[in-house]
Point group: C2
Chain length 235, copies 2
């Protein structure tokens, strides 16, 4: 049975699109039961509707506390057939700090993607902060969510080169290409029950699945990337 | 004329050894005029003596303040023919915070190497802190030194994979292999006058020098690395 997931978005949802695409390609063994946004105008909602996926807008302004908001979100997710221990929640550009209410309902089943090599550059401006700092290498991180922002155990990271003089708008798209690949990969490992958390370390169980050729054709040689653990076939 | 440098060490000095080796191979166009250590037993001193390089022990315990210590060090370095604007100071595992006394004597001419992808994991336990955090990618950073620890503008970074369950002793040697290559490369760029600092960004001037084949033979395919800017021939 495919992994039932709810995807949380606040914005454009290009990571949601890549999840949809890899599911439709038969690469990612998951089913999006619900897309939740805290913003009615999030383009991610339209992406979901285009693929017949149920959507829900929950405005955080309608809730007194973060906990109240999260309780309403958990109820909606449960109502759409996504619950622990099998279901999972995927934060794909969701610009809200989540609380114990969500995490207790989905223990070790909430994933987030962040556009920097955590613990460097947490927060909402990962790409711009990295560019401004002048790092030569940045990237993205998929991690389990805990109650600290951008902090939980790391599942996969991808590193890309940064060029002197670049700003976040130039660096961002290079990172985003990798986000699309590593996020679906991480969700698929969860779907395959191959992730094991031991303290801060996430172990990946072996499955005899061939590794992807690295880099893939859509990553130019001049923009090579380091991905760890390596991407498997299809991602 | 080769770049006159002073190298500061506190410990084993394997990065010093790689600088010595790449100079002797004719790859790095520099000359080590003096090796300074704040510890009499630093093995780095023996490495220097083995190659006929002058050494000096300055115990920080003999100086009342960090500034006094740095003034004595600057005097010794000057006395050995290394001074701004042409000379440079290279911190190769030097476990002391340097002060304005050194930095004012060598403006934009003090380099440091750190065994992590700064700004992640500054401080004296870069490898262990990264391993404990459970990152999937770590690495090393060569940067210009400013008055904040592990903070100045970044010249080059190298990223390597980290494996779940590893500690700093397992991760460290994988990073160290890259340290040896990127540090000599960065010093050579300085020797070639190809580094230009603009705010936080270090620009590398083009020189038409072929890039090294990446990865080199001493980096196993299973332990590939991402280096930016790319290593040039010989490094």
């Amino acid at each position: 049975m495919p992994l039932p997931i709810a995807v949380l978005v606040s914005g454009g949802g290009s990571n949601l699109q890549s999840i949809i695409d890899t599911i439709e390609e038969g690469v990612l063994d998951a089913e999006i039961k619900l897309v939740v946004s805290n913003r009615a105008r999030a383009f991610g909602l339209e992406r979901a509707r285009n693929h017949g996926i149920p959507t829900l807008v929950l405005s955080h302004k309608d809730y007194r506390t973060r906990e109240d908001f999260d309780r309403a979100m958990v109820k909606a997710i449960h109502d759409h057939g996504v619950s622990a221990p099998h279901g999972a929640v995927v934060m794909a550009g969701f610009m809200r700090i989540v609380t114990h209410e969500l995490l207790a309902a989905f223990p070790d089943r909430v994933l987030n993607i962040h556009p920097a090599l955590l613990p460097s550059f947490p927060g909402v401006h990962g790409q711009g902060d990295a560019a401004d700092y002048g790092v030569k290498i940045s990237g993205c991180t998929v991690h389990f969510v805990d109650e600290e922002m951008d902090h939980g155990p790391v599942i996969i990271q991808a590193a890309v080169p940064c060029n002197a003089g670049e700003d976040g708008d130039e660096l961002g798209p290079r990172i985003l290409k990798l986000e699309h690949r590593v996020f679906s990969q991480a969700i698929n490992w969860l779907a395959q029950d191959r992730l094991e958390i031991q303290g801060r370390h996430v172990h990946l169980k072996v499955a005899g699945i061939p590794l992807a050729d690295a880099p893939r054709a859509d990553v130019e040689p001049s923009c090579c990337a380091l991905v760890c653990p390596p991407l498997e076939e299809g991602f």
